[in-house]
Symmetry: C2
Subunit: 234 residues, 2 copies
């Protein structure tokens, strides 16, 4: 039997690919949960860039098999959160100066394109909600909340396009950025300056001036990149 003649009867029936995405009553796999746990530790800064992740250590630590950990690694490697060095192990991804520009190039492409789409009123409302969330966090001097609010804002921007794929790409990019933002977050007022930008962009969006909003967002991203590049040695 060759690989190619394992044709299933489902080929002509209901497409399994699309169906699975809608109804999800399934329990996430163990490998998925391991990946989720690592993602969490990555986001919280418990695992710093460059840190080596030993299969056996994590396997024992989480009480799962080494093979399962390995599968979780494959998942995370696909999201660029982790880098596999053959025969050497997996390491928490570390972004160089070039990567910063690269990440912002992706963000410019996705976010600007999404904001041009305009979006339905309820999606614009989600953007507004993220802006208010940021203001509230600022009032409470919650730096952590300020950071997540900012990410919610940009997530809402991308959601304007209503594209599932664009959304997951953005999620991955944001996860990548969280990886080395812990250095920058030490500066207590890092996100403060972005509050006004977000407000202005949101206002333009609500006024229906999508093209102006796009321009503002683009300028914002350029400034943000410059700031990040300055913080990181380069």
């Amino acid at each position: 039997m060759t690989t190619s003649d394992a044709v299933a009867g489902t080929a002509s029936g209901a497409a399994p690919g699309a169906a699975a995405a809608r109804l999800r009553v399934t329990v996430p796999s163990v490998a998925d949960r391991v990946a989720a746990e690592l993602r969490l530790q990555l986001a919280e800064g418990l695992l710093l860039p460059g840190t080596r992740l030993t299969e056996s250590a994590i396997a024992e630590d989480l009480g799962v098999s080494r093979n399962t950990v390995r599968e979780a690694f494959a998942e995370l490697a696909g999201e660029r959160l982790v880098v596999r060095l053959p025969n050497r192990g997996v390491f928490v991804a570390s972004l160089g100066p070039g990567d910063i520009h690269d990440v912002y190039t992706v963000r410019r492409a996705i976010e600007v394109s999404a904001i041009r789409a305009g979006g339905s009123p309820e999606r614009v409302a989600a953007v507004r909600a993220a802006v208010e969330e940021g203001k509230a966090a600022a009032a409470a001097d919650d730096e952590e909340g300020l950071g997540t609010a900012n990410q919610h804002f940009h997530g809402a921007i991308v959601a304007l396009a209503g594209s599932r794929r664009l959304g997951t790409i953005m999620s991955q990019v944001l996860a990548e950025m969280r990886l080395f933002f812990h250095k920058a977050t030490l500066d207590a007022h890092f996100y403060r300056g972005y509050l006004d930008d977000n407000e202005t962009i949101c206002a333009a969006l609500e006024a229906g001036e999508t093209e102006r909003a796009a321009g503002l967002l683009l300028a914002y991203l350029d400034r943000s990149e410059a700031k990040q590049s300055a913080v990181h040695g380069d």
Copy 2:
């Protein structure tokens, strides 16, 4: 030992993530080769959407372990080429009408943004080369070559931005589209109409009129999406 205290000495040294991307003298893993083989069969249309891929069958077929096949599946699932249904198996991804629009939304975001970057003369030359490749294929009545030339064209467009991440995203999207293009490719003149578009866009690009090129490309993508939606039942 907790997961988080496995701090390696490499954290302060040369970043392993960036270093590995540059020097690649390593031999691809067996799992990677399995994934590559499957990717190939997917691209050639040997494995049609909806087809079920049985672990044991492929393992025996390629002479590798089931666990290795499983790892390859994880890789392909990350690229959306394959869908995992828990406890049911993995299936070749099948795109519904909604997915077509979604894919084109991603393409619009990425390609238009990339073409706006303008790009260095040599990168523009690569676009020109793809256009000529298409013309040559058309002259030889090579439908297959016409299709790949078209993909080279759009790959070259994205390459204008010079972003590694944007490039891989585009590669994945193109791979996804190849998955269900075999239906469309049956129409012998499917790509023919795109030749002129590519030429026009390339000319605008060479003339330095990036904004006009962007507009042309956008219109092209809209038309292409409409065509694809029409071909597929909707």
